[in-house]
């Protein structure tokens, strides 16, 4: 492919400004909150959220209808010197998922951090809302970035936004969980940066589209990709690098946990996808198998540990570890035989579907767990009796989300599992079938552990600590229903996910 056609791929398209808006709008919101103070934070977020949703919808609609990626060249400086923002099919999908979960979280968290008087409570309010929007902006930057260094900055922004969300309540346990999270994430990001340095040294560009055209199969890129991958899986908390996740996700306030589990870990996962399928030249069977085995380890370990937890939020956190494991099965299965385009494969769609349905289901479950905690004053699983009476809609939302994790129809979890199994069968990689099936059985076990006590009415009835408004329970239910809706997609590769990717693929040898 000549330089001219490559350059043509990287010119601002009509509607490219949407990409800038997607990143800037939440960040402007963050700054506005810092300027206006905690008292008005919630109102700012309530304005930003619907606008963000509209932008996300516009990006998705534009990519879908034109069948072409959206591109914006920042400042008119073309890569390799300048930076590009680019939204292909998967970016558009990720941005849409993020916008939906974010809007739900904003609605769910309304009034949660409002204190009786300005002061310390006002600060918690400001911190939560400004960071929530910052995380949103950072996520969009991760999904849209086309430059590996730019992505590094976005990733760090994401971490800096996410870490303080863990320790909003300022207790010693959550502070140390946040510190652990931050330090490990930093270690990962330095390794990523090291890889970036090596790639720039070898090829003189960091633009993904350009790199795909010049990358050769040689030691420097292998080392770089190995370093970057490991750095990114440390941030994704893939087994065995999950040390920070359980305490961080279980310690955060419910609204923050929902974001952390549903979206933040997916940011770094998304970059691994980019790296492996857009930058790396073919021939990645063996490392893909390693990633798959790590995913299998995560599924088994996370599920068994979830079965053993005494507290609901820790159970959900361990379930996140297991569900992250499923995402990594995408790699060995999509690389697979390597004959057909991996983007067109059923495994690719399955992975993205798993990602989306887990995002909705897990956010709903964390919200539900938070409301159960509010209502009962604790989240010990063996004393959840009567929760079904106290917060019925929240329990229902938890159950629906749980059905998706178990892989029961109709749910995105079912469709994802179906297609993952189909890909394993088709590729002849039988070992994943056992893992997927075992993971489903274990998930049924830990979801059942939570649901069965909520169905009964203990005597004496549990003391009600707080009344949870129906509207907030409804938010969790709506998210869980999104996971159900995903179960109605056709069980075949989505063309949407391949938009903008054939161009990149053409560069591959």
């Amino acid at each position: 492919m000549t330089g001219e056609t490559t350059a043509a791929l990287l010119a601002t398209t009509s509607g490219g400004y949407l990409l800038v808006l997607a990143i800037m709008l939440p960040l402007i919101g963050t700054i506005a909150i810092v300027l206006l103070g905690g008292q008005r934070a919630e109102r700012v977020a309530l304005v930003v959220a619907p606008l963000g949703l509209v932008i996300a919808a516009a990006i998705l609609a534009s990519v879908w209808s034109s069948g072409q990626p959206l591109v914006y060249i920042v400042g008119g400086w073309r890569p390799p010197l300048g930076l590009a923002l680019r939204s292909d099919g998967i970016s558009a999908v990720m941005i849409a998922i993020t916008a939906i979960v974010m809007c739900a979280t904003v609605l769910f968290a309304r009034g949660q951090f409002r204190g009786p008087a300005p002061g310390v409570e006002g600060r918690a309010q400001m911190v939560f809302w400004s960071l929530l929007l910052a995380v949103w902006g950072a996520l969009n930057a991760v999904f849209l970035g086309d430059d590996l260094f730019n992505l590094y900055v976005a990733l760090e922004l994401l971490t800096f936004g996410a870490v303080p969300l863990v320790c909003l309540d300022g207790r010693a346990e959550t502070l140390s969980a946040a510190l652990r999270y931050l330090l490990f994430a930093l270690m990962g990001s330095v390794l990523y940066l090291l890889g970036v340095a090596l790639i720039y040294g070898a090829y003189g560009t960091l633009d993904i589209v350009l790199l795909a055209g010049v990358v050769r199969s040689e030691p420097v890129i292998w080392v770089a990709v190995a370093l970057m991958t490991v750095g990114l899986i440390a941030k994704t908390a893939l087994f065995p690098l999950h040390l920070w996740l359980p305490n961080a996700h279980a310690g955060a306030p419910a609204a923050a946990s929902a974001i952390l589990s549903a979206l933040v870990v997916k940011g770094s996962f998304f970059l691994i996808l980019r790296l492996w399928f857009d930058v790396m030249p073919g021939q990645i069977h063996l490392p893909a198998q390693i990633l798959g085995f790590l995913g299998a380890g995560a599924i088994l370990l996370g599920s068994v540990l979830a079965l053993r937890q005494a507290r609901l939020k820790l159970l959900i956190a361990y379930s996140t570890i297991a569900q992250i494991g499923y995402l990594f099965l995408l790699f060995p299965l999509a690389v697979g035989s390597g004959i057909a385009s991996p983007f067109a494969s059923i495994a690719w769609t399955a992975g993205l579907l798993q990602l989306a349905s887990h995002a909705f289901a897990k956010a709903a479950m964390f919200m539900a767990a938070g409301m159960i905690y509010e209502a009962l004053g604790h989240d010990r699983i063996d004393r959840l009796g009567g929760a079904g009476r106290v917060v019925p809609i929240a329990v229902f939302a938890f159950a629906i989300g749980g059905l998706s994790l178990m892989g029961l129809p109709p749910s995105g979890g079912f469709s994802a599992k179906w297609m993952l199994l189909q890909a394993s069968v088709g590729e002849g990689q039988w070992w994943w079938i056992i893992v997927i099936t075992l993971g489903g059985l274990l998930a049924a076990g830990y979801i059942f552990r939570v649901i069965s006590p909520t169905l009964i009415q203990p005597f004496p009835a549990p003391e009600l600590k707080a009344v949870v408004p129906v509207s907030r329970q409804g938010v969790a239910l709506a998210l869980a229903l999104f996971a159900v809706l995903l179960g109605f997609v056709p069980l075949e590769p989505w063309p949407l996910l391949q938009i903008g990717r054939t161009a990149v693929e053409a560069h591959l040898p």
């Binding site: 971490t159 330095v190 720039y200 040294g201």
Partner: protein, 110 residues
């Protein structure tokens, strides 16, 4: 041995030291320091790359320099967040300890 190799080795040593420190040390402050060391090693590497001028073929490629500056800002903010967390943790623990001690002394007095 030319300058580039020498600097490269220096960078590698810094990265190694940083990794060692961040894995082995228990105290958060030391980990933060080790992280900065690690980051320093990577920035040195960027420096060499700029020197080699891989991108444009001229002596001092400006792009890696821009990257290093941005990287330093990011590393600085990271250190700031980490140090803030450490200090906050210390304060909370200290307050808890003081409370426990005063509770003890109150009991002793009673």
């Amino acid at each position: 041995m030319n300058a580039a190799t020498l600097f490269g080795l220096c960078g590698a040593v810094l990265v190694g030291l940083g990794l060692y420190g961040i894995i082995v040390h228990h105290e958060p402050i030391r980990k933060i320091l080790a992280f900065n060391l690690l980051g320093g090693g990577v920035f040195v590497l960027f420096g060499i790359i700029a020197r080699r001028g891989a991108a444009a073929g001229f002596g001092g490629d400006p792009v890696p320099q821009a990257l290093v500056i941005t990287g330093i800002v990011v590393a600085f903010s990271a250190s700031a967040v980490a140090v803030t967390l450490v200090m906050r943790l210390f304060e909370v623990n200290e307050a808890a300890r003081r409370e426990a001690r005063s509770g003890h002394s109150a009991e002793d007095a009673g």
